[in-house]
């Protein structure tokens, strides 16, 4: 277990060191840490902005494919209920990065389903409030938590308008190397950052969705599937009134 933990830590540090350097001063590299951040070969830049378009019409009632895929991809299924815990309380304490929400329109009664996860705000309240800067936004638009400097104050959870974050309420015995996790820290969807940094271009939830409800890609690239889809269909941001310019957009809700 300690070996896994060690590796995870090293890999994570590499990844975050590179990104942290950028987030300190956008556009300015402080040092050449990126060289270590294999397999990524270039620094994270704001040339790319990762994002999603989710089509609520396609999301199927009662389907949990994206949720299970995310759980597996990010080791959330390894977080076991502690012995002696109250089951219904634990359900409210266990971490979740993505969930399905079903809505009923108050006027028409129309029912829609959609997956909700961190919306990767361009102006993320969770980053603004975090006292230590553990909650940070990468140049490529991914908002995530550096779990080595998170003190577990949960202020970011108070501030997130989408309830996207989870606090790790219990000791986690088993974890994946690419998703380190520790009791007392906060975490949330990071757009499968380990995949992207490995050169992959899809997220686990997108891959898992048999209904093609999730289109993921580079919002800055006009040719990307997500940009094309955004051009074609009308879409909205959830709680657009907050003007957070989310990276995750929805159509047909």
């Amino acid at each position: 277990m300690s070996k896994v933990e060690q590796q995870g830590r090293r890999e994570f540090l590499k990844g975050t060191a590179a990104t942290a350097a950028i987030s300190i001063a956008p556009g300015v590299m402080l040092h050449s840490l990126t060289a270590d951040a294999a397999p990524r070969t270039e620094a994270v830049t704001d040339k790319v902005r990762w994002g999603m378009l989710i089509d609520a019409n396609k999301c199927a009632d009662g389907c949990t494919d994206c949720v299970s895929a995310c759980d597996k991809e990010n080791g959330l299924d390894l977080v076991n209920m502690p012995e002696g815990a109250d089951e219904s309380l634990w359900e409210r304490q266990r971490p979740r990065w993505i969930r399905q929400v079903s809505l009923k329109d108050n006027l028409s009664g129309k029912i829609t389903h959609l997956p909700m996860m961190c919306q990767h705000c361009e102006k993320p309240p969770c980053v603004d409030v975090c006292p230590t800067g553990a909650s940070f936004r990468r140049a490529d638009g991914i908002v995530m938590v550096d779990r080595h400097i998170c003190i577990g104050c949960r202020y970011c959870m108070m501030a997130c308008p989408y309830k996207a974050r989870s606090f790790i309420h219990a000791e986690v015995a088993e974890k994946l190397t690419h998703t380190p996790r520790g009791k007392g820290c906060v975490e949330s969807c990071n757009l499968c950052v380990h995949r992207l940094d490995n050169g992959q271009t899809t997220t686990a939830c997108q891959d898992a969705c048999q209904h093609q409800a999730i289109v993921f890609g580079d919002l800055n690239d006009p040719e990307s599937a997500v940009s094309q889809a955004l051009k074609k269909y009308p879409s909205v941001q959830i709680r657009a009134d907050l003007k957070l310019n989310t990276g995750v957009r929805y159509s047909n809700i």
């Binding site: 409210r92 399905q100 400097i149 577990g152 108070m158 501030a159 308008p161």
Partner: protein, 407 residues
């Protein structure tokens, strides 16, 4: 007015040590509770991913808010030059420090990673109001300590006024900062109100003075010192004004919320349908925290008795806890409005299905931690007044009241 003398708290040793032992025991139990929570993780508490701040935060925020208010008595003496309050200043400064220490201890011990506090000191996010608060708190300790020193040391007396004014300004910033912790949370209906910060300032006046009165009266009674009726009456009237102001802000806060359509549901929740939160709002915040104390204070007979003043202060403190509970927990229990015009009918993550509030029931360890914070405040205060000269030997009217000789 005679010259004021100060002396150490003179209660007999067995009683003093007995009190410290009891408080120490409470703190030790709280320590065990902290160990239990930190060792297991927060699953042993009632806090969840929906209600992320629980009982420890209620205690911590109450104590921190009261801390800055406790300094008020000294400020009135210094910044506003009211002579009669001057002898009260030292204890006021001491209470400000001990209340803040107690509150911060509770806050820190509830962190998911309290051991990383050093990180919080070195990694700074200057945009975060939370991080600014850390500055405000440390600054507060330093300034108030300086203030107490200048009050106590006659050689420094000439600087005492500017430091006092500075401390007053700092305390206003501190409470505004604490209030802003909520004001900055745009996501949640209950917190997104400009009135939050001034409301916290006025709440701090009331809670701080109530705590001050209780400690002052207890400490004086315990070693047979005298407090004159004139002075008590002034403090009592001041408390009445502060409590009335809290009530006024409460009314304005909810009226402005009712004015804006987008907040109607939140208001209905707190004022009518919120179960425990509605109960605590009307019963705790309004009745126990505002109306009954005001009734006692302004009652011609009751308000003149010491018992009445003690009762009123105690109720203000209890009502204060209820108030913070409604704000902190109630604000989280109310489901966030993510989809206007729609009802959430199912969710894999407790998004308030059909408008259901989030569940929270405080667990014993959380409450013990909070009570430990209170015990710590009292312990530090008692030690302080025992070893240093915080208490005036007498506050009898002929000593403390500047108009006494004339009348």
């Amino acid at each position: 007015m005679k010259k004021i003398h100060f002396s150490e708290w003179g209660i007999d040793s067995p009683r003093y040590w007995g009190m410290l032992a009891v408080l120490g025991a409470i703190i030790a139990v709280a320590g065990l509770a902290v160990f239990y929570m930190e060792h297991n993780g927060h699953w042993v508490t009632g806090m969840t991913n929906q209600v992320v701040w629980g009982m420890p935060h209620v205690f911590a925020i109450f104590l921190i808010v009261a801390a800055s208010g406790a300094l008020n008595v000294a400020s009135i003496g210094t910044a506003f030059g009211k002579k009669v309050y001057k002898p009260l200043g030292r204890l006021s400064g001491l209470l400000a420090i001990t209340l803040l220490a107690g509150g911060l201890a509770v806050l820190v011990l509830d962190l998911g990673q309290p051991g990383r506090l050093l990180i919080a000191m070195t990694h700074y996010n200057f945009k975060s109001i939370f991080a600014w608060n850390i500055y405000l708190y440390t600054g507060f300790f330093a300034i108030v300590a300086l203030y107490i020193w200048f009050m106590m040391d006659w050689r420094m007396n000439k600087y005492y006024k500017p430091v006092g004014v500075f401390a007053f300004v700092w305390r206003l910033m501190l409470t505004t900062g604490t209030g802003s912790i909520f004001g900055f949370i745009v996501a949640r209906q209950g917190y997104d109100a400009a009135i939050m910060a001034p409301m916290f300032v006025i709440m701090s006046f009331a809670y701080g003075l109530a705590v001050y009165l209780l400690v002052l009266m207890f400490a004086f009674k315990a070693d047979g010192r005298e407090i004159g009726d004139v002075l008590l009456k002034r403090l009592k009237n001041l408390l009445g004004i502060f409590v009335a102001a809290v009530f006024y802000f409460t009314v304005v806060y909810h009226l402005t919320n009712l004015y804006g359509t987008e907040n109607h549901e939140y208001e209905a929740f707190i004022l009518r349908d919120g179960g425990i939160y509605t109960l605590l709002f009307w019963g705790g915040w309004v009745l126990i925290g505002c109306l009954i104390p005001m009734g006692i204070i302004y009652h011609p007979a009751l308000g003149a008795t010491r018992g009445g003043i003690i009762a009123a202060s105690t109720l203000v403190v209890l009502g204060g806890f209820a108030t913070i509970y409604v704000i902190v927990i109630g604000g989280q229990a109310f489901p966030m409005a993510m989809f206007p015009g729609k009802t959430i009918v199912a969710s894999g993550f407790f998004d308030g299905v059909n408008g259901q509030p989030m569940l929270y029931s405080p667990s014993l360890p959380e409450i013990l931690l909070g009570l430990g914070g209170v015990a710590l405040v009292l312990m530090l205060t008692f030690i302080g007044i025992r070893v240093l000269r915080f208490l005036p030997t007498s506050l009898a009217d002929e000593v403390a009241d500047p108009h006494h000789a004339k009348s």
